[in-house]
């Protein structure tokens, strides 16, 4: 039987220079539903698709407020995100108490990056199984950071993580040049359009499964959930994936993207409508 002898811990390199446990953690993100973030000159928006484990169950929280100027969207293991968000909240409160200053977005993003990196270099630990989009506004303006379990923290104009996030990324890449001058409202709608492209074939955006986080100039972090999402979905109009409508166009772009990057196109991973396995990685 095939056995990978270089993935027993997160700190041992394979002969080809890879850390398998870290790569598995990055895979865990792709099991979670998508989160999308994007930035204008004045605002940051994060939108996320919530999943319920079963028909009668509640939906898993995807966007967490950290502070008045800061929030995160997650994809992957929700408990790991909880640990990280609690840490970020503690950092934010410490900054307010000791320096009377909202914590700079870049600083708190890099602090969780450092935490995650330690797990890739310390024996007996495991990497976080969650990716985060850190959205915040501080005196240097709006910021969007992508956090990965590898310890990678990068700033983006637009970013998407989670299942079928390539579709959202494709939307963002096609439209990002118009983002800087967008109003907050236009930015949210761009986010929702990117998010709906990550939907499975027969799914659509509902008030139950859509979360929106908005923060920016003179706009404290606002989380829209359930009823509050209704007005946004009305403004959006079509709540189904545009993939069916643009299937031919999409297939072409995917082929081009697949040729360009060697990354596997997660478009083709089938996701069951009702995730039933109790051990399933879900967020």
């Amino acid at each position: 039987m095939f056995r990978n002898s270089y993935d027993n811990d997160s700190i041992t390199y394979s002969p080809t220079g890879r850390l398998f446990q870290v790569e598995y953690a990055l895979e865990a993100i792709k099991q979670g539903s998508a989160s999308v973030g994007l930035v204008s000159k004045t605002h940051v928006v994060i939108v996320a698709l919530k999943r319920n484990a079963e028909e009668l169950g509640s939906y898993q929280k995807k966007i967490i407020r950290i502070d008045n100027h800061l929030g995160i969207a997650l994809a992957g293991l929700a408990p790991d995100a909880r640990v990280l968000s609690n840490f970020m909240r503690q950092q934010a409160m410490t900054s307010k108490m000791v320096y009377n200053k909202p914590i700079p977005v870049a600083r708190v993003a890099h602090e969780i990056g450092d935490k995650a990196q330690k797990n890739t270099q310390t024996y007996g630990r495991r990497p976080y199984g969650v990716g985060l989009l850190v959205a915040g506004y501080d005196e240097t303006g709006p910021h969007l950071f992508e956090f990965l379990p590898s310890g990678t923290v990068l700033e983006y104009f637009g970013a998407a993580i989670g299942a079928r996030s390539q579709s959202a990324r494709t939307y963002l890449e096609r439209n990002f040049e118009s983002f800087p001058d967008c109003t907050a409202e236009e930015l949210v709608l761009h986010g929702l359009r990117a998010l709906r492209d990550t939907l499975a074939q027969d799914k659509e955006l509902l008030i139950q499964n859509t979360s929106i986080g908005l923060v920016g100039l003179d706009t404290p972090f606002k989380l829209y959930d359930n009823e509050d999402v209704g007005e946004w979905l009305e403004k959006l109009g079509d709540v189904g994936s545009s993939r069916g409508r643009r299937q031919a166009e999409e297939a072409e772009a995917e082929a081009a993207a697949a040729a360009e990057t060697s990354a596997p196109a997660d478009e083709d991973i089938p996701v069951p409508d009702v995730p039933a396995e109790p051990i399933e990685t879900d967020d």
């Binding site: 000791v98 870049a106 600083r107 005196e139």
Partner: protein, 260 residues
């Protein structure tokens, strides 16, 4: 049977080892209870384009004028000045803490800088923390600079962790002798808008002169620092009290060298 009653009821030495007399003689941990080298008043006021503050250059050892080159106003970060009165060694300790704070903040190179309200909050936490350990840093401190919205900032914190803000603040004797003079110009925040830097400087110089007349732990040599709203910090060092008149001293009887 042990026939020595004083050993009864005590842990046996052959089992537990002999009694450690250090335990008996250990008293409560003691800290510095009095300052030694001290600086007197720091005075400050807001004006239409910033904040001005002054402190003399004397380091007193009790009533002895021990050091005459003590600098008690320091620049912290790009646009903040902190003035210390009280113990000189505690001032130096706080100076090194603030220096480390600013250096470590600079490592990030992310466009964020500490301004006066942030440094003020930090200092007030340090001061209150130390007083709560009943080991206070023996200082009264003024922090001057710019608020986040660009308006002038002036705050006070002392060895008890007491904090307040006002358009004119002075520590020590200055609170009695300088404040009335400064408040003639600026008694409310609004008044500061009608006071120019020159007017403020004149009031500060006058106050320093009055303090030198009346405060026996003061010096006629002082430093004036000005923080302006464009972010400039200007230090005017080795300033001397001008146009003093000590003729009245001849008439004072009862102490000094006169024989009545």
């Amino acid at each position: 049977m042990d026939h020595m009653p004083e050993n009864w009821g005590r842990p046996r030495s052959d089992v537990y080892g002999s009694y450690q007399h250090a335990i008996h003689s250990a008293g409560p941990q003691s800290h510095t209870q009095v300052p030694s080298i001290t600086g007197t008043s720091v005075i400050a006021m807001k004006f239409n384009n910033g904040v001005i503050l002054a402190a003399d250059n004397l380091g007193s050892y009790g009533s002895l004028a021990r050091f005459t080159d003590q600098e008690r106003l320091i620049k912290v970060g790009k646009e903040t000045v902190v003035g210390f009165s009280g113990d000189a060694s505690d001032m130096q300790y706080l100076e090194s803490m603030l220096e480390r704070l600013i250096i470590e903040d600079n490592y990030e190179q992310d466009g964020h800088n500490f301004r006066a309200p942030h440094i003020y909050e930090y200092l007030s936490r340090v001061m209150y923390n130390r007083r709560s350990k009943v080991d206070p840093l023996w200082n009264a401190i003024l922090v001057a600079g710019k608020k986040d919205d660009g308006s002038p900032f002036l705050g006070y914190v002392d060895l008890l962790g007491i904090t307040y803000s006002s358009p004119c603040i002075a520590t020590g004797y200055g609170a009695y002798l300088a404040i009335p003079l400064l408040r003639k110009l600026v008694s409310e925040d609004e008044d500061a808008k009608n006071v120019t830097e020159e007017q403020a400087r004149a009031a500060i110089d006058e106050s320093m002169k009055v303090l030198f007349y009346r405060d026996a732990r003061s010096l006629d040599k002082y430093t004036v620092a000005t923080v302006t709203l464009d972010g400039n910090v200007k230090f005017d060092k080795d300033v001397r009290c001008q146009n003093m008149n000590w003729r009245f001293a001849e008439g004072i009887r009862g102490y000094g060298t006169q024989k009545q």
